[in-house]
Amino acid sequence: MPTSIPEALNTLSAGLILISAFAMVATRQVQGVLRFFVFQSLLLAASSFLLAHGRNSVHLWALGAITLAAKVVTIPWVLRRLLPGEFYERREISQAVNIPASLLLALLLTVVAEFLTGPLVATVRDPVIRVNLPIGLAGVLIGAYSLIARREAIPQLIGILAMENGAFFAGIAIAPELPIIAELAVAVDVILIAVVVGLLTRNIRQTLGTTEAGALSELKEDPLAWR
């Protein structure tokens, strides 16, 4: 199948997005997770610029610019403003699942994503959709998994944002003509997620002296042990 240069580069970017999703699962240090998230968002913006160029779409140019402004610039800035520096040096010692097992599970989720989207893309000619749909779904699933496996608050937040990246990576291929106002609104929403969850993390840290979300386990419906 002949592919144009932007499409080939988009495929490269798709591969790197998947790799950065894996890297987020494998990284212990909070700082490192944040860096890989910024890298992944950069790739998402690059992909939408490439497709915008290839298809002459104003919407995708706008989406790429919005992604850059919101996820590459604003979110890291917001998180740094809200939480002190020592926070990012933290290493997560206890994860629910150890890292090699996590990577295997992430690989499994990628296969599941490929398997789920296989019947949908079988009849589609557009090579971009054939690449972006499975990779996007894999991004969503791996993000959801890291949310469950992580115990620190900020990596959990970044897991949510990485899920959003995955959804948008599929979105630029299958629904490229979203109204620009909706794209802007989504960007505001993503920044608000960072602000609200960041504020909540700060409150938790001030009140409880920890940011291990895994330590929050008082509220349960256990009739015998309750209070």
């Binding site: 019947p119 949908l120 996007g136 779904l137 969503v140 993000g143 959801a144 949310l147 608050a153 959990q156 897991g159 949510i160 899920m163 959003e164 995955g166 959804a167 948008f168 599929a170 979105g171 299958i174 629904a175 003509e177 979203l178 109204p179 106002i181 909706a182 609104a185 989504v186 505001v188 929403d189 608000l192 997620i193 609200v196 969850v197 504020l199 909540l200 409150n203 938790i204 009140t207 409880l208 979300a213 929050l216 386990s217 008082e218 509220l219 419906e221 009739p223 309750w226 209070r227």
Partner: protein, 482 residues
């Protein structure tokens, strides 16, 4: 115009609460703003009843029967909850909090997001609005800043924000098939539904399932409900009333819109799945209700039960069951918010949330005791309260649709939930007070809110005014049952 004004008012009120000289009157401002939105929502509904639809900005702001119903309910619950907050938030537990203006500013933003969901006709923006609802409520849930409140807020934030990207994927999948079927016209809820028959049924199903998982988590459908009893019991009581009364219904409204698209697509049959999933929610909570130990959690579980009943009714997909579903939405909103105001009264009088520690409430505070008895009977579905009517109509619609097994399960589970709630409440209201508390005087605004909230609950069980009936009928038509 009214549709845009109804969104502008809470935003303006939020800004005004922020202004330093006005911070002292933040409560008054918020009461005025929410009362104004209620007046506007009533006006919009009146227009919808006459014209079938209100269009403020074509393709962006439109309201049909279903959205008008949700608008009225949101503004009604939010206005009364704000009145209730006036006396409640001053009280002991919150007295140390000097940042009440901040609470009201955030509350206004929350109201804005809740109203934006039904007022928007553009699905992408609806998705953003649903997400804003969650974000603006997270800090309200954690407002008390205690360990358990923060824990509840954290679980709430993580589990429900996580649902949003999953739902977004579903929205994208739907637009994909919509665009390839129609060639790129503007998408609104109406346009999507009328194009449903020509869309790829597999993608329609996939998108519905993704939205169901994503927004089902936000509306507390089992098995994604685990955050709900925590958040709905730890938040300040006026916030609980809004969360349980109407906030869970708002994501469900989007699910119902998607369900109507699925029902309009002849090859994609999901009705029976909805019945099963709804029954799972009802079933899990019916048994959890038996062993619950905290009366705010009890009312929170009953919310999950009611969401399941609404979903089951929508899954039956007949005209009568759809009418039952929208009536249940209405009755749940007015009754559940009442239940939480009463729970707030008990918390003010006794300062405990444990069912075991509340005994002989009727003797300690006759007002709180009698209101607890009435509101619990109403929420559990005893006649002559409105929930009895809507549950009965859902059951009979199921019989007519030939879904005997589902009706049998639903009836049994509703009875179990009824017994569970009344067993707990019986002990709380009657019985002997453990110690004779010196009953604290209840704030006037709280008493007022409870009495006003009681009025429609008492009325709608015996008499449904013609405009309400018309609005419900128009709303039921939007669910697309045959």
């Amino acid at each position: 115009m009214a549709l845009m004004a109804i969104l502008g008012i809470p935003l303006l009120a939020a800004l005004l609460c922020w202004v330093r000289p006005l911070r002292r009157v933040a409560w008054g401002l918020t009461v005025a703003a929410t009362a104004a939105t209620f007046a506007l929502a009533t006006y919009i509904s009146a227009e919808v009843i006459v014209g079938g639809k209100v269009v403020a900005l074509p393709g962006w702001f439109e309201a049909d029967g279903l959205s008008a119903l949700i608008l009225v309910l949101v503004s009604f619950v939010c206005a009364l909850a704000c009145v209730f907050a006036g006396g409640y938030m001053q009280h002991e537990e919150h007295a140390g909090k000097l940042r009440l203006w901040w609470f009201y500013a955030n509350y206004n933003l929350f109201v804005f997001a809740l109203l934006a969901v039904p007022a928007l006709a553009e699905p992408n923006l609806t998705w953003v609005a649903v997400e804003l609802v969650t974000l603006f409520s997270v800090l309200l849930v954690g407002f008390d800043n205690t360990a358990s409140a923060l824990e509840a807020a954290w679980k709430f934030a993580v589990l429900t924000i996580m649902g949003a990207p999953i739902a977004l994927f579903g929205f994208f999948a739907l637009f994909w098939t919509y665009r390839s079927a129609t060639g790129g016209a503007w998408e609104t809820w109406d346009a999507l539904r009328s194009a449903a028959s020509s869309m790829n049924p597999n993608l329609v199903k996939l998108s519905f399932l993704l939205v169901f998982v994503g927004f089902g988590a936000k509306s507390g459908l089992a098995p994604m409900h685990t955050w709900l009893p925590d958040a709905h019991s730890q938040a300040p009581t006026p916030v609980c009333a809004v969360l349980s009364g109407i906030k869970t219904t708002v994501p469900l409204y989007v699910i119902l819109r998607f369900l109507s698209i699925v029902l309009a697509s002849p090859a994609a049959r999901l009705g029976n799945w909805m019945i099963v999933l709804g029954l799972i929610s009802v079933g899990i909570t019916a048994f959890l209700l038996l062993q619950v130990r905290d009366y705010k959690r009890m009312f929170a579980y009953s919310t999950v039960e009611h969401m399941g009943i609404i979903l089951t009714a929508a899954g039956l997909a007949t005209q009568t069951s759809d009418f039952g579903a929208v009536s249940q939405i209405l009755n749940h909103a007015i009754t559940k918010s009442l239940c939480f105001y009463v729970a707030g009264l008990i918390l003010l009088v006794l300062g405990t949330r444990e069912i075991q520690s509340v005994r002989g409430l009727f003797r300690i505070s006759p007002f709180a005791g009698s209101m607890l008895l009435l509101s619990s009977l109403a929420i559990a579905g005893a006649p002559p309260f409105p929930i009895f009517l809507s549950e009965f109509s859902i059951l009979s619609a199921g019989m007519r649709a030939g879904q005997y097994t589902a009706v049998a399960f639903l009836a049994i589970l509703i009875v179990i939930a009824f017994v569970a709630i009344m067993l707990h409440v019986n002990g709380m209201v009657f019985g002997k007070p453990a110690t004779l508390h010196s009953a604290k005087a209840l704030p006037t605004s709280c008493r007022f809110a409870v009495l006003v909230a009681m009025a429609p609950v008492a009325l709608l069980g015996v008499y449904i005014p013609a405009p309400v009936h018309d609005l419900l009928q128009l709303a039921a038509q939007q669910l697309g049952g045959r």
